[in-house]
């Protein structure tokens, strides 16, 4: 019995890990983006006051998924994320300097979190 419980636990752990690892998001800029801007599945970095348009596509097992992604900043006073007018398009913008994270949901289910930071603007040359 003990052995079967252990096997079941190991299997469920693999299943959860697999779900998390199998889903990812591919980002593509759809507006110009200064060099300081970084929006990808591992990290989001924006200078304060700067906006960038992105297309975000959910990918599962290297296949595009039609799910609508909702991005929710944990600290909305740091970074703003609004939907664009077209499917899978979003506008990310830095509101104030600080660190936060962005939760993302597929079909209202929390799938993952991306660390995010808003950095000070570089002084004008």
């Amino acid at each position: 019995m003990t052995r079967s419980i252990a096997i079941a636990l190991a299997a469920s752990t693999l299943l959860v890990t697999g779900c998390t690892d199998d889903y990812t998001i591919e980002f593509r800029y759809i507006s110009s983006a200064p060099p300081e801007v970084l929006v990808d599945a591992d990290q989001i970095r924006l200078p304060e006051g700067i906006a960038v348009g992105v297309e975000a596509i959910a990918v599962e097992d290297d296949r595009l998924v039609g799910s609508v992604i909702d991005f929710v900043p944990v600290r909305p006073g740091i970074i703003g994320i609004d939907r664009g007018t077209h499917e899978r398009t979003y506008v990310f913008y830095g509101i104030s300097v600080g660190a936060t994270s962005v939760d993302y949901y597929f079909d209202a289910e929390l799938i993952g979190t991306i660390p995010a930071e808003v950095v000070p603007q570089q002084p004008q040359p």
Binding site: I30, G49, I50, A51, D82, R83, T85, Y93, G94, I95
Partner: protein, 253 residues
């Protein structure tokens, strides 16, 4: 910025509001998402973008200040201005969006009868619906004004002559430390050192101004009353520019 300017030169089918109620223009600046057009508008008389007189050589400053509602190269910190957005924007679901222009950063941008940016930097302005859909955005650069130029008859001036009874239109344009002309309405103070020689009045006024200090306008009309010399000072905060006006006797035939 050059790319933006190229984009703004592209002909646009949209008719958009101009900075002056009396002018009709057909250009602005295409947003970064390409969905519509952002148009710069003046909120009052203190903005060099919307000069009424021909004192400033518009071709000399239009590359910085923009024409026909383009987003200017830079705005003066503390200056008032407004931005509008035009475009029939619908979502993929067919919903027509009602869009307001709002700043991405609200801590450094005041919005009371026009925008005021309170510190230098680059600022995104979003065309955003009440439901939080952003159709488009543009960026504005805000720079501290460090110098003022006074213009007369399309020339920058520090001294000029008038005949008694003559008059002239003057305009001030704020600059940054490398000479970029800055948009936005700033509160200026104009003063004559000698009201019995040269008096200052509002641009477009008629007759002899009553004298005293003229405030809040980037353009003024001066009238030479009598032979002599007067020092005109236009100032904005700690920045000032002085122009010497020499009034010669009226020549009688």
């Amino acid at each position: 910025m050059k790319l933006r300017r190229l984009l703004t030169l592209a002909p646009l089918p949209l008719a958009v509001a101009s900075c002056s109620d009396s002018e009709a223009v057909t250009q602005g600046t295409i947003g970064d998402m390409g969905e519509g057009v952002f148009t710069y508008t003046c909120v009052d008389d203190g903005d060099a973008v919307c000069n009424q007189t021909a004192a400033v050589d518009s071709q000399a400053v239009e590359i910085d200040l923009g024409i026909n509602g383009e987003i200017p190269s830079a705005i003066a910190v503390g200056a008032r201005f407004d931005i509008h957005y035009s475009g029939q924007v619908t979502t993929d679901d067919g919903e027509v969006l009602l869009l307001d222009v709002v700043p991405a950063r609200t801590d450094e941008v005041h919005n009371k009868g026009g925008f005021i940016i309170t510190s230098p930097g680059t600022y995104a302005f979003l065309a955003r619906s009440p439901k939080g859909v952003v159709a488009d955005f543009t960026h504005l650069l805000a720079i501290e004004a460090t110098d003022l130029d006074v213009w007369k008859d399309e020339q920058r001036v520090t001294a000029f002559e008038l005949m008694a009874g003559g008059e002239a239109n003057l305009a001030v344009v704020p600059n940054d430390d490398v000479g970029i002309a800055l948009a936005g309405a700033l509160p200026y103070t104009w003063e004559s050192s000698n009201d019995s020689v040269v008096v200052i009045g509002p641009a477009g006024s008629q007759g002899t101004p009553t004298g005293g200090v003229e405030i809040n306008d980037d353009e003024v009309r001066i009238v030479a009353l009598a032979e002599g010399e007067a020092l005109l000072t236009v100032s904005r905060g700690e920045i000032a520019h002085q122009v010497t006006v020499t009034v010669n006797p009226e020549v009688t035939p």
